[in-house]
């Protein structure tokens, strides 16, 4: 038993602006994201990338402009945060069941939960409590909870930011595999340029509330980090991020 492909849904933004009071966070955002694409969103702290993500899955509303995302009307958008946000008093299985929403129980729901747990590599751990899992495992549960309702749009807000380096590499491969299996549209905010290039079909760089770079990544998957093509793309993004300040680049 495994999860069936769910497919993705498109997101389109036309001249989108978001302001909190007089503080303009995003301005003039025009984006067309086709169904099933993996989009990495990078930028410095406070550049507005998380706000963009929240807009695209309906956690915030636009101040002006048009946001069109069919997944929002179909309640088929989900989010994974940097922290797993699991209920400590609920088993792995019950935490995943939270993702099914109200009144969804019984055999069909159980099967869906079991399939998605297998997909994220947690088969056999259904009965454990979150406190009995490692950080990476907890994030897998959070991913399963987000995916169990078969969303067509998945937002990931620095999903691997709290994990150690080795677990991150592991989880990047898992994330890529799950996305390839299920086919949802993925929007991932990250502060790690390497991660953005490794996973994204496309990398969007946000600076001061605007899209300053929209780069297609045309490398075969799974991607190898050491290759010159990979490094060239990374360099291009870092150049745009830090301009010509070599010390800042070195630090990154």
């Amino acid at each position: 038993m495994s999860s069936q492909p769910t497919g993705g849904s498109r997101v389109s933004l036309k001249d989108v602006k978001k302001a909190f009071g007089s503080n303009v966070v995003l301005q003039g955002i025009d984006l067309e994201i086709p169904a099933g694409q993996f989009v990495s969103i990078v930028g410095k702290s406070g550049c507005g990338k998380s706000t963009l993500l929240r807009l695209m899955i309906g956690l915030d509303t636009v101040t002006s402009g048009v946001l069109d995302a069919p997944a929002l009307k179909e309640q088929a958008a989900r989010i994974v945060f940097q922290e797993p946000r699991l209920l400590p008093w609920a088993s792995v299985k019950d935490n995943v069941a939270v993702g099914l929403g109200e009144g969804q129980s019984g055999q069909a729901a159980d099967q869906q939960a079991a399939a998605i747990l297998e997909e994220v590599g947690l088969k056999g751990r259904e009965g454990l409590w979150p406190s009995q899992l490692s950080g990476g495992m907890r994030q897998r549960v959070a991913l399963a909870r987000a995916l169990v309702s078969q969303p067509t749009l998945l937002a990931l807000d620095e999903p691997l930011g709290a994990l150690d380096a080795l677990t991150r590499i592991d989880m990047q491969a898992l994330l890529e595999g799950v996305w390839q299996d299920l086919g949802f549209t993925a929007l991932m905010v990250t502060h790690d340029v390497g991660e953005a290039v490794a996973l994204g079909d496309r990398v969007i760089l946000i600076d001061h509330g605007q899209v300053v770079l929209d780069l297609a990544v045309d490398l075969p998957r799974p991607r190898k980090r050491g290759t010159p093509e990979f490094a060239a793309l990374e360099g291009q993004i870092l150049d745009k991020l830090f301009g010509d300040d070599p010390r800042a680049r070195e630090a990154h």
Partner: protein
């Protein structure tokens, strides 16, 4: 808390060592006549008194009366404290309206109300119930309020994003999140419960363990006085163990309670 303790029968016997040694010392002192029985009767004399009181049925009667009083007071005061704690934890308006007043009343030692309570209720059953209920109210109220207020806001946001309605959010996120704190309140409340009952029964009662002790005092029956004290100790310990068992059952997800 990880304390290094070796497994096996020795570590299981360890907590009993000191009480056992004290009882043996006590018994030996009494047998050798160092401790006059009118000051402190021997443990065997206390056991004898327990046996006599068991046979004439008065021990069980008094025990039952005290236990019923304690539980009724706990249920009444606990239910009110729990409800108000939830109300004020969930509603900002409720907290602003009620909490300052409750915090003010909390600072009055509830036993200071005894003269007033006797005037209001006489020395009947309602006076004792009122005192116990008042005593257990505050620890349960305060800890329920604290527990509800301290549920992780990120979990509440998660619940909302996943479309939980208020009822589900309360049952699946807020109540379980507040439970460890509520249990702390319950354990405090049990201590206050016995304390209040002892005072209430020694001042004005014609039944119960406290009354048994006071009646024995009039006839200088130190063995029965000591027996009453021992019974209170056992009841307190039992109540605490019961709460621990509940914690282990309901808080098993929490590594701090998983195995005590």
């Amino acid at each position: 808390m990880a304390v290094t303790a070796s497994e096996g029968p020795f570590s299981r016997a360890l907590p009993w060592l000191v009480p056992l040694a004290l009882i043996i010392l006590w018994q030996v002192s009494s047998s050798l006549g160092w401790l006059p029985p009118n000051i402190l009767p021997a443990p065997t004399a206390v056991l004898e008194a327990a046996w006599t009181k068991l046979q004439d049925g008065s021990l069980i009667d008094n025990l039952g009366v005290s236990f019923a009083r304690a539980m009724s007071g706990l249920i009444i005061g606990g239910a009110i404290g729990f409800s108000l704690g939830l109300l004020n934890g969930l509603s900002k308006t409720g907290e602003m309206l009620l909490d300052p007043t409750l915090q003010m009343i909390r600072n009055i030692p509830h036993l200071a109300l005894i003269p007033l309570v006797i005037i209001w209720f006489g020395i009947g059953e309602s006076a004792r119930l009122f005192l116990v209920a008042l005593g257990v109210f505050f620890p349960i109220y305060l800890n329920t309020l604290h527990g509800v207020r301290n549920v992780d806001p990120q979990l509440i946001e998660m619940g909302r994003i996943y479309g939980m309605n208020n009822r589900t959010l309360f049952l699946k996120v807020i109540l379980p999140g507040a439970l460890p704190s509520i249990f702390v309140g319950l354990r405090f409340a049990l201590g206050v419960m016995w304390l209040t009952l002892i005072v209430a029964e020694t001042i004005a009662a014609n039944s119960g363990i406290g009354h048994m002790a006071m009646a024995a005092r009039e006839f200088m029956q130190t063995d029965i006085v000591v027996l009453s004290i021992v019974i209170y100790a056992i009841l307190g310990k039992l109540a605490d163990s019961a709460t621990r068992a509940l914690e282990r059952k309901f808080l098993a997800w929490n590594p701090a309670y998983a195995k005590v």
